[in-house]
Symmetry: C2
Subunit: 245 residues, 2 copies
Amino acid sequence: VRLRLVLEYDGTQFEGWQIQPGGARTVQAELEAAFQRIAGQRVRVRASGRTDAGVHAEAQVASVELETRLEPEVLCRALNACLPRDVAVTAVERAAADFDARRSSRSKLYRYAVWNDPARSPLRDRRFLHVPKPLDLAAMRRAARDLEGTHDFTCFQAARAGARTQVRTLERVAVLGRAGGEIRFEVQGKGFLRHMVRTLVGTLLEVGRGRRAADSLPALLAGRDRRRAGATAPAHGLTLVRVDY
Amino acid sequence: VRLRLVLEYDGTQFEGWQIQPGGARTVQAELEAAFQRIAGQRVRVRASGRTDAGVHAEAQVASVELETRLEPEVLCRALNACLPRDVAVTAVERAAADFDARRSSRSKLYRYAVWNDPARSPLRDRRFLHVPKPLDLAAMRRAARDLEGTHDFTCFQAARAGARTQVRTLERVAVLGRAGGEIRFEVQGKGFLRHMVRTLVGTLLEVGRGRRAADSLPALLAGRDRRRAGATAPAHGLTLVRVDY
């Protein structure tokens, strides 16, 4: 039977989603081990997309093909009893035979969280990037608008990533919150290049600090040169919020 | 000079506020060590109240007497550079010579956070108590009302605590949120007995689960018997939110 899983995880202690040779601690490895223990089968769990080391998920979606007569709710409880504290299955349901968490997805929503205050915030330490100096929200919003729509995003792609095309469509790039306090970047689109959201955020933060002009993004995109974009923002600020099908 | 400090900490890795013999990792010990390094003085830092092991603070207030010519903002940055990641000073200001964080406080607000959902929530794991079975919010709200005001709270006091009087006044006991999701208990008052907030919450949770009648709190208070109250709710759900002066 084909199953659709919804997963929540705190990425702090994971080497990302994807299973790796050598037994790195990854979300996929923990999940497949849990299925092995419960159903005695080696299965392959596919996610909507791979999250990097340190990236969190509120509702990652995954698909798996499993031979079982267990009801989805029973399977869900059994998985959670096996999984470590930093990952949980929040829903399990039967899916169409051709459901594939990656290929069937229509859109993904990522959130990048920033704590913009002179003082560190220990209670936000695991999920917010701390930016002590003031950020110009209006400038970041102005710049974000130029990223919406269909563009060649080569300038935001990790150096050695090998996607066939760098053209992607962003449905929405929003900057929420107020200067001095919690700021959230929301980026929604069908597909992303490797490190794209974090590099896009790193670039907008340079706009917010006044180190880059608010109207400079179209030229940056047109230049298709990773070296001219900003630094890749750290992984711990990023959360996969939702996947739509 | 007398200083007023505001502190934020993630209590997960602390053995509470108070310095202990034997070098336990406590917030007070970390702070006093930071002052020692910066100002070369052994000082005693006093908090508005001692938080237990595992309890968090969004804005604990502390007072200290220090000989220094450093400006408060400079001192704040220096302290944060010395302190570990899970505690930070969010404000430092000069205070009146008789300011004492504990004795001068008028009221403290505690929040207890519950994740009420069949599935665990890894992203809430450090700050929410997970209650998988449904809670009756209306019943908990009904019961909470009977705790507001001035009462003898002996029934909620830790077994071997030695306060002179068990009479305290709670200005507010609120149950916020909705069944199925995040629920927050807010308890505000001038002073609390040891474990009082956590035992009060543990008792309200029994009301929420239908194991205790919503109108049974007046008799429980009158009985002044700790053994008849509920279990002490775990520390990690509790946060000291604010202290008013």
